[in-house]
């Protein structure tokens, strides 16, 4: 892709960026307790004695979360570590009941991997994954309900998280954005995280540093915590890059610190300096034995793996003849890809893709519906395209049929049949309409014959109008020419 170089009157710069993404694991119960993980239940309803850090309570590992983590690791093309350990990250906060977070430190469950991202110019780039570990989420502190008190909701405390750490491979905001969309697509395909950044199910920490273009030095980086949308991540990188360059060019120094991105001003502000950084005093969690996995366990999950967006995309390109762009758009969302595949079964896949990405998506947008609630089923979309291919209806009539389908959910064959929308392909029937039109418009016939060849379009329109749009336009054209050129 085009390189992202920031040019100032003083020189050229490039950005070095890495991401840390927290993904909430989809599981029925929390990672170290039996409490429910239901989102949106009443405050402090899904809290067990373990989650509340009651005296004498012990964590037990929820193997469903381990299963989900391995699945995700496989989706990241990563090494699954058969030996991993839990550690305690110690810090005090009111919504951290135990006074420590159970996480993985030295020995994470997932090792190095990668994700290939697709860029706007059609190129792709490999982003390396450093590691992924599992840990528990904290609760929520609510500070704005009372001027003097804070409230704590522990529903989220203990929900399983996967923390994915990338290598510092991003060189532009676009790459980071493409990565997050791809990652979200993968975890949604796998059903291991719902990927909703606005609900906090996926949260992103962004590390940024800059260097003179062409150099290989690594300068001081700053981290922006909890940026909560793809757009904001991209904006945060842009803003922070700008700040670093301005600081260096005015002779200043960047100090390592944690910063916060403010979407309203599109700028970042310091949260805490490195010297005030917490010492988390990590040490192995004595309440949980090391997690030792055997090949059988991992292989079983491998067998459960479904086709992921990249594989699906190349299959759609190679087997179904889709363009790279169409395949990428369709494969980003599994429901869309599944819908497409179902609709395309036995029909012209390229035409299905055109309909899907054109009228179909427009209709969903207009009706504000998700694909799961589409009034037009995949089978019916397939049938509609088939009706066009077999010249039963024209493309123009098809658009009307589609609107009826969108309103009634009816079968297009039934609509065409009942409303008599079948294309007229009977030569004699069309010829008789042509004769009527020619007889009624002798002046235009004369003009045509005198050399106004473009009047053919007008004649076609008249014939189509008289046939109420049902005449096959190709046939009309052909027969008209024959008659007029006699």
């Amino acid at each position: 892709m085009a390189e992202y170089i920031i040019e100032t009157p003083k020189g050229k710069w490039e950005v070095i960026c890495g991401l840390e993404i927290h993904c909430q694991i989809i599981s029925k119960s929390k990672i170290f307790s039996g409490a429910s993980t239901e989102f949106g239940d009443d405050v402090n309803e899904n809290v067990s004695f373990v989650d509340a850090g009651m005296p004498g309570m012990l964590p037990t590992l929820n193997m469903e979360c381990v299963h989900q983590a391995i699945k995700t690791g496989l989706g990241l093309n990563a090494i699954i570590n058969k030996y991993s350990e839990f550690s305690r990250k110690n810090y005090f906060y009111a919504d951290l009941p135990q006074g420590y977070q159970i996480t993985q430190f030295q020995y994470p469950i997932v090792g190095e991997g990668f994700i290939d991202i697709d860029l706007e110019d059609g190129s792709s780039k490999r982003i390396r994954i450093e590691r992924m570990h599992i840990e528990q989420d904290a609760g929520k502190s609510i500070h704005d309900l009372d001027p003097h008190k804070s409230f704590i909701d522990l529903n989220r405390a203990g929900v399983g998280l996967m923390e994915i750490v990338t290598k510092p491979d991003f060189r532009s905001p676009e790459e980071a954005g493409a990565f997050l969309r791809k990652l979200r697509s993968i975890v949604r395909y796998l059903g291991t995280c719902d990927g909703n950044m606005d609900e906090g199910a996926m949260r992103c920490d962004v590390n940024v540093s800059v260097r003179p273009y062409g150099s290989d030095e690594l300068r001081t980086r700053c981290e922006m915590k909890n940026v909560n949308s793809v757009k904001f991540v991209m904006q945060a990188i842009e803003a922070e890059t700008r700040r670093h360059i301005e600081t260096y060019e005015s002779g200043g120094e960047i100090c390592q610190e944690t910063r916060q991105f403010d979407p309203l001003t599109s700028s970042t502000k310091a949260m805490r300096k490195k010297e005030f950084a917490q010492d988390y005093r990590y040490f192995p969690e004595p309440d949980l034995p090391p997690l030792v996995l055997d090949d059988a366990f991992i292989n079983k999950i491998k067998e459960e793996m479904i086709e992921l967006p990249d594989a699906k995309k190349s299959r759609f390109i190679n087997k179904l003849g889709l363009t790279s762009y169409d395949a990428m758009v369709i494969c980003e969302n599994k429901e869309v890809a599944d819908f497409f595949e179902k609709a395309a079964e036995g029909h012209d896949a390229k035409k299905i893709a055109n309909w899907l990405m054109g009228d179909f998506f427009a209709m969903l947008n207009r009706k504000n519906l998700t694909i799961a609630d589409s009034p037009v089923s995949a089978e019916n979309l397939g049938k509609l395209v088939e009706l066009i291919s077999k010249d039963v209806i024209s493309g123009k009539i098809a658009k009307d049929v589609f609107e009826i389908m969108a309103d009634t959910s009816e079968d297009p064959e039934k609509i065409v049949e009942e409303r008599g929308l079948k294309q007229v392909t009977d030569t004699s029937a069309i010829e008789s309409i042509i004769d009527t039109v020619l007889t009624a418009n002798p002046d235009n016939v004369a003009s045509y014959k005198a050399g106004k060849g473009n009047l053919i379009g007008w004649f076609v329109g008249q014939v189509m109008k008289q046939s109420q749009g049902k005449a096959n336009p190709g046939l009309v054209n052909k027969l008209l020419k024959e008659k007029l050129d006699q």
């Binding site: 004695f49 509340a52 850090g53 009651m54 005296p55 004498g56 309570m57 012990l58 964590p59 037990t60 590992l61 305690r88 110690n90 005090f92 906060y93 009111a94 009941p97 135990q98 006074g99 420590y100 804070s150 704590i152 010492d279 005093r281 990590y282 040490f283 004595p286 309440d287 949980l288 034995p289």
Partner: protein, 484 residues
């Protein structure tokens, strides 16, 4: 009429089954002792009403023949065990009058076996201490005290004193570095710390998770076997509890020890060893020899590093385990201006001096820059200690050592008070066992010239409590220690 509180659990059960005595009579007898024994300060909470209700239920079980293994046996429970509806404080101000809405697995197992609880027993605050002087409820007085009040040992001082003074038929204890064995030795009773993982830690207030184990403190060896039978077992709620089958420990009582190899570790003949204790150690070895065992000298070369390693690992885990006592959700809260002040005020007021010291040590050894030099080094030492025992157990089947290098000392002893290291040195024979996760028992061997009880320790292979029980029983038969 004989004093019912003289009966061991095993003999009381025989009489209960024969309907010679009733659970209510037995319970009343212990309640009376608990009341007259208040001067020992062994109980921090007594629930007579509930105990008698349970005793009446047990009476019905005997009448209709549905009596269970410990039906109607009145126990005292160390205040570290969470007991549903019964105040549980770890003898710390910070828990206030905390009353758990749940039951620890070990106490639940005992309840399921028909035992009843008289109340909660005094202990060092959060089990941190070797003299029971750190309890927020005050020091336990050793029932063997003569002119001046002596310590009962710790941290399970209340448990050992209550059993010695017959204020309960038996008690639960916990042992992180000797907290069952040292007070058992000081109070002339018998206590076993089983293998790490034998008893579930669920519902036991954590001190140092990788070292903590529950066990019984009883009048004799056979009672310990019976109690442990009804405490141990795998628990899905504790991931460190063992799935190994629990044998019937009672079946080892009376088994002979002919040809059993008893190891005597050279390194335990240290400078601080009291000469009378050393003499009794030789006597105990002779007794086992006369019972048919072979005495072999063994070496545990890394012994001298055990104590420093223990006093790094235990405080490290404790500093993290005690972080939850922050005044936010339960227990005592001392408000302040903002969250940090609330923490500082609550923990300053809530924790005692020794607990604060250990939190500071633990926080320090885990800090960036010190972790490798202290915590990591201590973990390496821990592995070496374990290797020492593995090697030793190639040459012997069981190890005999004194439990404590000294006899019970005076409450407020100057030497102990002026330097905590002096207090920590009392754990010198017990901490290695916790670091290695092994089972070990303390049983009384005789009285010092001051008329105070001294204890011997038997250390077994992991999950081989059976050999400890059969050896301890033989030693008990030879020693003929006379209980209070």
């Amino acid at each position: 009429m004989t004093d019912l509180t003289d009966l061991t659990v095993c003999s009381a059960l025989k009489k209960l089954k024969a309907k010679e005595i009733s659970p209510v009579e037995l319970t009343n007898a212990y309640i009376e002792k608990a009341t007259t024994g208040q001067k020992y300060n062994a109980y921090v909470y007594i629930d007579e009403k509930q105990a008698l209700e349970k005793a009446r239920e047990s009476e019905n079980h005997y009448l209709n023949g549905t009596n269970r293994a410990l039906e109607g046996i009145p126990l005292g429970i160390k205040d570290l065990f969470c007991t549903k509806g019964m105040q549980t404080t770890a003898c710390s101000r910070i828990l206030g009058k905390f009353t758990p809405p749940y039951e620890s697995t070990v106490t639940q197992n005992l309840l399921n076996s028909g035992a009843l609880f008289l109340g909660k027993l005094n202990m060092d605050e959060f089990a941190m201490g070797g003299s029971n002087e750190t309890s927020c409820f005050g020091t336990v007085v050793n029932p063997w005290s003569k002119a001046i009040p002596l310590v009962a040992g710790g941290s399970s001082g209340g448990s050992a004193a209550a059993v010695a003074a017959k204020m309960c038929a038996a008690a639960t204890g916990t042992d992180t570095g000797g907290s069952i064995r040292e007070p058992s030795a000081f109070c002339g009773v018998t206590g076993i710390k089983p293998t790490y993982g034998r008893c579930s830690r669920y519902g036991i207030i954590a001190f140092a998770s990788s070292l903590d184990q529950a066990g019984p403190i009883c009048k004799d060896v056979a009672d310990c076997a019976l109690l442990l039978n009804n405490m141990a077992g795998y628990d899905a709620k504790d991931s460190t509890s063992s799935k190994k089958e629990v044998p019937d420990f009672c079946s080892f009582i009376g088994q002979d020890i002919k040809g059993l190899k008893v190891g005597i570790p050279n390194e335990y003949r240290s400078d601080g060893l009291n000469t009378e204790v050393a003499k009794y150690w030789d006597t105990a070895a002779e007794m086992l020899k006369s019972a048919g065992a072979d005495i072999v000298n063994i070496s545990l070369p890394h012994t001298k590093y055990a104590l420093p390693a223990y006093y790094v690992i235990a405080p490290a885990e404790a500093s993290s385990n005690l972080a939850r006592y922050d005044g936010v959700r339960y227990g005592v809260r001392v408000d302040g201006n903002g969250l940090d002040e609330l923490y500082i005020n609550t923990r300053t007021a809530g924790f005692g001096k020794e607990v604060k010291r250990r939190i500071l040590i633990g926080t320090y050894v885990l800090s960036a820059g010190y972790y490798d030099a202290y915590y990591l080094k201590a973990q390496k030492v821990r592995r070496l200690i374990k290797n020492d025992f593995d090697e030793a157990f190639k040459q012997c089947d069981i190890i005999l050592t004194p439990t404590s290098p000294i006899e019970p000392f005076a409450i407020g002893d100057k030497k102990m008070a002026e330097n905590p290291i002096n207090m920590y040195l009392n754990d010198i024979f017990t901490v290695s066992v916790n670091l290695a996760g092994l089972p070990a028992m303390s049983l009384p061997i005789g009285l010092s010239s001051n008329g105070l009880p001294l204890g011997m320790q038997l250390i077994g292979r992991a999950f081989d409590e059976g050999t400890i029980f059969k050896t301890a029983y033989q030693l008990e038969q030879c020693a003929k220690f006379v209980r209070m």
